[in-house]
């Protein structure tokens, strides 16, 4: 696997989107790519596979992509990863960008892993920060339940990097007068081998509207202290006031109070939001494994000796049934008086 001799110093962003609506991570990746590209001496280039490009275009330009490779086709959604892997591996192998950013969500990681294996490239997954040191990228990644932060790089490019949600704050590009987005159409490649894993059906359940925990910048989580599934409404009301996602401890999930997709911890999601509010959660090590890299941690618990307070920035010792509704109301009042 010879290092790229010819190639571009560009940083590509594989857009994560739902029918043309970019996810938050996509905007964060575009922001990160601008910074990386400036150091690598290239440009931030978005890559769009799927349908609905017209919807994505304006946002992608606003977040500073200098160019975009567009492969508009419904084949991507019809098969699990196959066409995406084949199309992207072809482009990466041919053009050798400096690096490629993927969203560190299951789909993004699967695609990156397969491309890595196909092209003999390394993959840095679950990056919670990304920078350039000399020629190479340096990422940080939380290991062993967030108790250690490991700094890693790859020996040679193109560097495949999966960026976790909220690793960087999304910021629009400052130079609004910049020349328009340069668009290039690229064909989807779809061999028979790429079309073996067929998406037969997409089933949607339950409440959309709140951001999923692995994307949310703010998370309010509930635990066994809620005592009854109906009381999750207290957590949801606070979450909605903050525009937050709702998480749950395993005790709450095992009791059937909330779905596993919301579980935070060693055997659930690992999250790094800006703010994590733990309500009626004791802070067992397996729970901490999923949330201790949050920027700010708040806990509401009636037991002053609860281990969750040891990693909190702000703890309230009190009855959640008192504190949570009053807090939600207080935040609502402040929001309304601020206009």
């Amino acid at each position: 696997m010879a290092p790229a001799l010819v190639g571009t110093p560009d940083v590509w962003v594989i857009l994560d989107h739902e029918d043309g609506v970019p996810s938050k991570v996509s905007l964060q990746m575009l922001t990160a790519a601008r910074g990386l590209a400036a150091q690598a001496g290239g440009a931030a280039v978005a890559v769009f596979c799927g349908t609905g490009w017209a919807r994505a275009k304006e946002v992608v330009a606003r977040f500073g992509a200098a160019g975009v490779l567009v492969s508009e086709s419904d084949v991507f959604a019809g098969y699990q990863t196959g066409p995406t892997v084949e199309t992207l591996a072809g482009l990466i192998g041919e053009r050798h960008p400096w690096g490629v950013l993927f969203a560190s969500v299951p789909f993004g990681k699967e695609v990156a892993a397969r491309i890595g294996a196909r092209l003999g490239l390394g993959v840095l997954a679950d990056a919670i920060s990304v920078a350039v040191d000399g020629e190479r990228p340096v990422v940080e990644h939380a290991a062993f339940g967030g108790s250690l932060v490991v700094r890693k790089t790859l020996r040679s490019g193109p560097y495949l990097i999966c960026l976790k949600a909220n690793a960087v704050a999304a910021e629009e590009a400052p130079d609004r007068g910049a020349p328009g987005l340069e668009e290039e159409q690229v064909p989807a490649s779809t061999s028979d081998a790429a079309k073996r894993a067929v998406v037969v059906e997409r089933v949607s359940t339950g409440a959309a509207g709140r951001p999923p925990v692995d994307e949310a910048a703010v998370i309010v989580s509930g635990g066994r202290g809620l005592q009854d599934p109906a009381n999750f409404s207290l957590v949801e009301a606070l979450a909605d006031e903050l525009g937050a996602g709702v998480g749950a401890s395993r005790a709450a999930v095992d009791a059937g109070w909330y779905p596993h997709s919301a579980q935070v911890g060693q055997t659930g999601k690992t999250v790094s939001p800006q703010l994590y509010i733990a309500v009626g959660i004791s802070g067992a090590i397996q729970h901490r494994a999923g949330m201790q890299t949050a920027k700010t941690i708040v806990a509401i618990n009636q037991d002053a000796d609860s281990p969750i307070f040891a990693l909190s920035d702000f703890g309230v010792v009190g009855d959640l049934f008192e504190v949570v509704p009053k807090l939600t109301e207080e935040l609502r009042k402040r929001r309304e008086s601020a206009g």
Binding site: Q80, T81, G82, P106, K109, E110, V111, A112, A113, R114, G116, A117, V123, L124, A125, V138, A143, F144, G145, S147, L148, V149, V150, R151, K152, T153, L154, R155, S156, A193, R196, A197, V198, V199, V200, E201, V203, T205, G206, A207, H260, S261, Q266, T267, I285, A289, T296, V298, A304, F309, S312, D313, F314, V316, V317, G318, V323, E330, L331, R334
Partner: protein, 269 residues
């Protein structure tokens, strides 16, 4: 890997990993940043138990055989032993000093060399490990074997020549189907893993274990180990999150105001 339908029985491999117990202290070897694993403090990767259970249920439903596959040093075999005591039929243990320090892509390549030697209908993995948590191994393994990879499965069904899964998504799932052979990454929720019975634990001791080296399975030594891995660890630190640790008692019923002030200060509202 050519699939030949001899009879409707499944030849299944399940890949398992040994991970440190979250509750135990983790020590990285400062000389090469690899993990010093205390064998007593390590366990079978929790979600791999779900993969093992799924393999056993598929065998019970369709007939066949389950082989547990593990890559790692001597001490790692404990994890495979647990899978055997749950009911897997036999084990392959890839162990070689050459593998020391392999990253996820290198391990996936090494496992593919082991798995290539037999015609498995289905290769099951856990969806992610609790130590590295990369989830890279199952899809990379599928790629090396040239097979479809169906990951994040919270339900697995085999029907004739095809495997069908429910792929977990936030607020829903996708139904994904592929022809056998295939690699499937099994997620939480697929089943409730059984506990090994006393009889299972006893009989596990006598089940066939094939120990293989890198050379035995044709691994290219330049593609594994610290030197053969693309990723390079530059350093590590304990997570030094300096937490404010402000603690407010709600005895006066006003803690919510202080908390709202705090959230406002930090610009969350």
């Amino acid at each position: 890997m050519e699939y030949i339908q001899a009879q409707m029985s499944l030849t299944i491999a399940v890949c398992v990993k040994r991970v440190p117990d979250t509750a135990a202290d983790k020590i990285l070897d400062p000389s090469d940043f690899t993990l010093e694993r205390d064998p007593d403090e390590s366990i079978l990767n929790p979600v791999d138990e779900v993969a093992v259970e799924e393999a056993l249920r598929l065998k019970e439903a369709h007939g066949g055989e389950v082989t547990v596959v593990i890559a790692g040093p001597e001490t790692a075999f404990k994890a495979a032993r647990k899978a055997l005591s749950m009911g897997c039929d036999k084990a392959i243990h890839l162990s070689d000093p050459l593998l020391h320090g392999s990253d996820a892509e290198a391990i996936a390549y090494a496992l593919s060399c082991v798995l290539r030697r037999a015609a498995y209908d289905l290769i099951l993995c856990g969806s992610e490990s609790t130590d590295a948590r990369t989830s890279l191994v199952p899809p990379a393994l599928a790629e090396h074997l040239g097979l479809p990879g169906l990951c994040q499965a919270k339900k697995v069904e085999v029907d004739g020549q095809r495997v069908r899964i429910h792929r977990d998504r936030d607020q829903g799932y996708d139904v994904v189907e592929a022809p056998l052979p295939a690699v499937v990454g099994v997620n939480w929720g697929a089943n409730e893993p059984r506990y090994p019975s006393f009889k299972g634990i006893q009989s596990a001791k006598n089940k066939p274990v094939e120990a293989v080296s890198a050379a035995d399975v044709g691994i290219d030594a330049s593609r594994v180990g610290l030197a053969g891995s693309q990723s390079e660890v530059l350093g590590f630190g304990a997570r030094s999150a300096e937490r404010g640790r402000i603690l407010v008692d709600d005895r006066d019923g006003q803690a919510h105001v202080r908390l709202a002030d705090f959230l406002q200060e930090r610009k969350f509202i």
